[in-house]
Amino acid sequence: MLGDRWNRSVIPRWRNSTIVASTLEAGPSRFTPEVVPRPNLLPLLDERLSEWNAHPTIGGAADLLAYDQFPELRPHLQKIAKYVLSSDQPLPIPLKEAAQRALEIPSLDSSDLVGPNSRRIEEIHTLRHRLALNPRNAVAYVDLARWYAALGRNEQALRLLNISKALEPNSRFVIRAIARFHIHANDPERALAVVNHAVALKEDPWLMASSVAISNLLGKSGRIAKYARTLVSSDTFHPSQVPELASALATLEMFSGSQKKARKLFNIALVQPNDNSVAQALWAADHLKTTIEVQDKWLDDPLSAEARYYRAFFGGNLEAALMASKEWFADEPFSSRPMTSASFICGLLENYEAMERCCRVGLVADPLNVGLRNNLAFSLSSQWRLEEAVEILRDLLQEEKDALSGHTLANLGQLMYREGFVEEGEMLYRKALDRLKVQGLSTSQALAMAYMAREALLANAENSEKLVAEAKGLAKEFPSTGVDVVLRSVTASPTNLEVPSKKILRDQKWRYDKERNLLLIEESRPFKE
């Protein structure tokens, strides 16, 4: 459980189309014709109201209520709306809603009455029905694909996204959703190709932002970055249209070591930021070890759950971070990161059952996610469900064969400690530390060390005190919220580390083959032979 740090990029969000409509991303950037002037319709309405007053009928009232589509006329429709609602006829729902709307009476949204799971199923059903009515509805294909991706049904999601692209090859909404999906499906090359082939790439700052961010993710310089930098500094676009582009460019500068330029670009991004640029700025502030003046309104945005997570976590408020990660998951149900974060926090809070639940929820959308599976193995080992942990780690070992990750090695070390193989446990943890060092994951290294000390204490290892001291030294060198919490738990409340009297014993026999890097398990059969 070492995932308190990752490299973040301003990859596009993938949200429901109605939510996207409420964000800065919904605004056009290519073309801004004048708004069509609307003639003053009031004299005409007055005339028609007089006619209706002379002969009021439900049909006439329905006809007049259609004026409610022009907001300036709404105050003049109150009498009509009341007449409709007081009718003793059984009214069609749309007419009743039109009258309620004119009177600004909130209508009950049935989706408020159902739980999240039922809502997900209901959403899918509604979208499928909408597509049955019009199979050329690109927006509905994207929305439906998002739910399929959240259920881990990536093939279906991809099929739907391909249809949406065939229908609307130039739509920003469609292109960014497809790019996000390919990143989710671990195919960032394809994501980049989709964005870079967009006709409007050079005119659309949102597509350019995606291109720069994905290129950065791939370690490429990106063919559009230079051009985009000129546009951002030349005020070609309104500040509301460039938060992601400026953030993506700032991240690029940050990784290339130009911290001054990065800070300047972040400031451009934060003139009129969106949730993605705020999250990126908060993440970058921690990464750059610098402070950032965060405006409360940025975090008040309901869509800023990820940013709230970073703020709470880096500030050491684990409960708030857990809450934010759950909100983040509600926003991006297909993404593994929110549940990776939630499971990590649950682990720090030593609520391993909750940690297991978070991992399992996250794995629905991304069943092969290595971080989540490692966290799941950790949560199971921590609950002394070692057999189940072995199953997961065995699969990971087989998959990672040639390039075993520090995370997997550390979890294997934990397992060994808990099985009573102290020496092997330490050996694996040391290997993990080396691997993490090579990868430059210094905070994960400190965290692995802290966990090794904890496991050594728990196993009553002779060198446990020495390991605690070593962990403290590494924590000083590479401080982080996670390490602090683990070390506090190790040193302040040793009772936490008591081994439960009734730990679940394994009935499978297994051993670790160092040379072949395998967990070898003797086949178990329903009946003992």
Binding site: A26, V36, A138
Partner: protein, 305 residues
């Protein structure tokens, strides 16, 4: 009867232009009504007489005498008035009635389109009810005739804004006459479907289902870019009104509504007809559909008596 008063025009700041405008409109509408009569368009309200009278004919002041002029058209008498008066949402109204209304409107549109005229102002007040189950369209004042310049041709959309196709609200126009003028008529036919069954116009429904960022007046981009979101909003509208249709014909009515009110003017109409070059919008298919559904409903009503 339709009467046009010159009094207000004479008192307006630009009285000469205003008078000219009214005169042109009256002449245009009269000639169009006579043309429809000559062509025997049975679904268009027949002009019986037209002319003008001076209420103050004896006034020696020529200006005051001119101001008392009223031009008039006398049409055949619609016994049941217009649709607004006749419609109810009561289940006691036979199901076939609304289908006959739609059949009448579709037939009227087809007759007009057949002689090169686009009505452009189809709305409940312009649908008149005559003897049992006979419906006609009136008020050709906003119509456009192929080969002629109508007084309202320069307007982006000459008809009632409550029933206008969405593209006009975004300032988007298509150049092709079929897509622009005739396409508007069939959009308004679709709007009559929603009015008859759900009590609201298609334009109103679309506005209520479109996210605020994409509404006319807010959206500042190209129509092509907002179109995918309008297509989605239109499908939401169809979902919303689906339960308002009788179960016996709900599926067909929803499909017809979707085709007729498609936000893309280039796709509006029957897809099978639209896929064939120069075959029009497929209004004949909707005449058959509504007639067929009305016949079935009548048979079911007779059987249940």
């Amino acid at each position: 009867m339709k009467a046009m008063d010159f009094h207000a025009a004479l008192l307006s700041a630009d009285s000469v232009a205003k008078l000219q405008e009214i005169t042109t409109r009256i002449q245009y509408e009269r000639s169009l009504l006579e043309y429809c009569g000559v062509r025997g368009l049975s679904r268009i309200v027949r002009l019986l007489e037209s002319g003008n009278i001076f209420f103050d004919d004896s006034n020696p002041d020529p200006i005051k005498r001119a101001a008392s002029r009223v031009d008039f058209f006398i049409f055949e008498f619609a016994e049941h008035g217009d649709l607004r008066r006749h419609i109810t949402f009561n289940p006691t109204l036979p199901g076939s009635w609304k289908l006959r209304v739609l059949h009448g409107i579709a037939a009227a549109i087809a007759q007009l389109h057949g002689v090169g005229v686009a009505h452009q102002d189809i709305k409940p007040s312009n649908v008149l009810s005559f003897e049992t189950d006979k419906f006609k369209i009136g008020d050709l004042g906003r119509s456009s005739r192929e080969g002629y310049t109508a007084p309202t041709d320069q307007n982006l959309f000459p008809g009632d804004r409550r029933y206008s196709p969405p593209e006009f609200e975004y300032g988007h126009t298509v150049t092709d006459r079929v897509d622009r003028r005739l396409g508007s008529d069939i959009f308004m036919l679709g709007s009559m479907i929603s009015f008859l069954y759900a009590g609201t116009s298609a334009s109103y429904l679309l506005v209520t289902e479109t996210p605020a960022a994409y509404l006319p007046g807010t959206w500042r981009g190209r129509y092509e870019d907002v179109l995918p979101f309008l297509v989605d909003a239109q499908a939401r509208c169809a979902q919303k009104i689906a339960s308002s249709f009788p179960s016996t014909c709900a599926d067909k009515m929803v499909v017809a509504f979707m085709q007729l009110t498609h936000p893309n003017p280039l796709l509006r109409g029957h897809p099978d007809t639209r896929s064939m070059p120069d075959k029009g919008l497929g209004i004949d298919r909707y005449i058959s559909l509504f007639n067929n559904l009305a016949d079935r409903a009548e048979i079911a009503e007779r059987a249940s008596r």
